[in-house]
């Protein structure tokens, strides 16, 4: 949830596996108040189908207090701002930070267990520093994945979101300041395993990559359309298991196309290394594009 407000209780933390230093990610914010039993305010929803011609909104009522020389009135301030404006602004800051260093940043998302970390381990070993890879690992808890990445040979910062269901741009910005990726490098951000919430939060990445395991069921894109629509690349992973499964690649690809006709779709096995070359080609192409666009 929000690193901003911490209203969920648990604060996000980050562990720099190079220095073993743990830091709390705690942005300045209003006092947190969630969890109390009584509520004074209230919310209500006007559904899309309703007609709002009878809006009782503005101009606001003018109310006089008992003292005629001192009265209050209601003023309507037109805000017209994206609700996630703060995250968006932080994401733009990250994006500019990447651009200034000609760094390619990718936001990797999937359901838990689709093989994001295995794909990263294989990628780190195969590319062997050309280009240099850095990883930001997002999980609710544990540094297990961060340790796997470190063992594979990349520098990594583990962000633990506590009860939070996604990484946000603030967490990534904080992780970058610890990670200090080299100019011209690739930063792979492994989001919390979740196909819902991360779709909404821009981290400043160049592209979102969805890892879609063939053990997941062909209709994943239809069940989680927001995430698949936001992705530039969909990687169908674990294709080595296809002979053992009733999974129709054709149907899965058709479902991706329904939600996102533009996405590139690759079929690989991160475990066996089968066709991972397609992913590395895509990665290098994106890195070149990121370098070129840095001066565009």
């Amino acid at each position: 949830m929000c690193a901003n407000c911490g209203c969920q209780g648990d604060k996000a933390t980050m562990l720099d596996l190079q220095t073993d230093e743990t830091t709390t990610i705690d942005a300045a914010h209003f006092p947190q108040n969630a969890g109390h039993p009584h509520a004074y305010g209230h919310g209500h929803v006007h559904h899309a189908a309703h007609d709002h011609s009878d809006d009782h909104h503005r101009p606001g009522p003018h109310r006089h207090s008992a003292d005629d020389h001192f009265h209050t009135h209601v003023n309507v301030v037109e805000v017209e701002t994206r609700i996630l404006a703060r995250n968006d602004a932080m994401a733009e800051k990250n994006r500019a930070w990447f651009a200034g260093r000609e760094i390619l940043a990718l936001n990797l998302v999937s359901s838990p267990g689709a093989g994001k970390t295995t794909l990263l381990e294989q990628t780190i070993r195969d590319l062997a520093g050309k280009p240099p890879l850095h990883v930001i690992e997002g999980d609710q808890a544990t540094a297990n994945d961060g340790e796997r990445i470190q063992k594979a040979g990349a520098s990594v910062v583990q962000v633990n979101t506590g009860t939070g269901c996604h990484l946000d741009a603030e967490m990534v910005g904080r992780a970058l300041s610890a990670l200090k990726p080299a100019p011209g490098a690739v930063v792979l951000i492994e989001n919390v395993g979740n196909l819902v919430c991360p779709a909404l939060f821009d981290l400043g990445e160049r592209a979102k990559v969805v890892i879609f395991s063939v053990t997941d069921g062909e209709d994943k894109p239809l069940k989680y359309p927001h995430m698949f629509r936001a992705a530039s690349l969909v990687i169908l992973n674990k294709i080595d298991l296809l002979p053992h499964l009733d999974f129709s690649l054709e149907e899965a690809i058709e479902n991706v196309r329904k939600v996102n006709p533009e996405a590139t779709i690759l079929q690989i096995s991160a475990r066996t290394g089968e066709r991972t070359g397609d992913w590395y080609d895509w990665l290098r192409h994106q890195l070149t594009a990121a370098r070129q666009s840095a001066f565009a």
Partner: protein, 112 residues
């Protein structure tokens, strides 16, 4: 779950705008395809707002119906879901409305 984060952002923006003044109403618009449940925001709002200057404010959520224009036939059509195709069968279209996630306005009490 991300509705809690979104509610935190609403409260945060309202507090920044209010700067201590009493807030009567916060109006937000949420597109049908914004990926956020309006009912869940309505439930979270009083909890997140409690103890802040906007705790007595009401939250008005306007849902925005989703529409798109087809790239192939040019028709405008309603898209109640992310995977609604154009009546002509095409999945290639530009979304016109329905992805909004905005704070529209805040009603403040001014003392003179």
């Amino acid at each position: 779950m991300h509705e809690l984060s979104v509610t935190c952002s609403i409260v945060d923006l309202a507090l920044e705008t209010a700067r201590g003044r009493k807030v009567h109403r916060v109006t937000v618009e949420i597109g049908q395809l914004a990926g956020v449940m309006a009912d869940s925001i309505a439930l979270w709002f009083p909890e997140v707002a409690r103890g802040t200057p906007i705790e007595t404010a009401s939250l008005d959520i306007r849902e925005v119906a989703a529409f798109a224009r087809c790239d192939d036939c040019g028709a405008e059509f309603a898209t109640p879901t992310m995977v609604t195709p154009c009546p002509c069968g095409s999945f290639r279209f530009a979304r016109l409305r329905g992805e909004e996630l905005n704070i529209k306005s805040i009603e403040l009490e001014e003392v003179h």
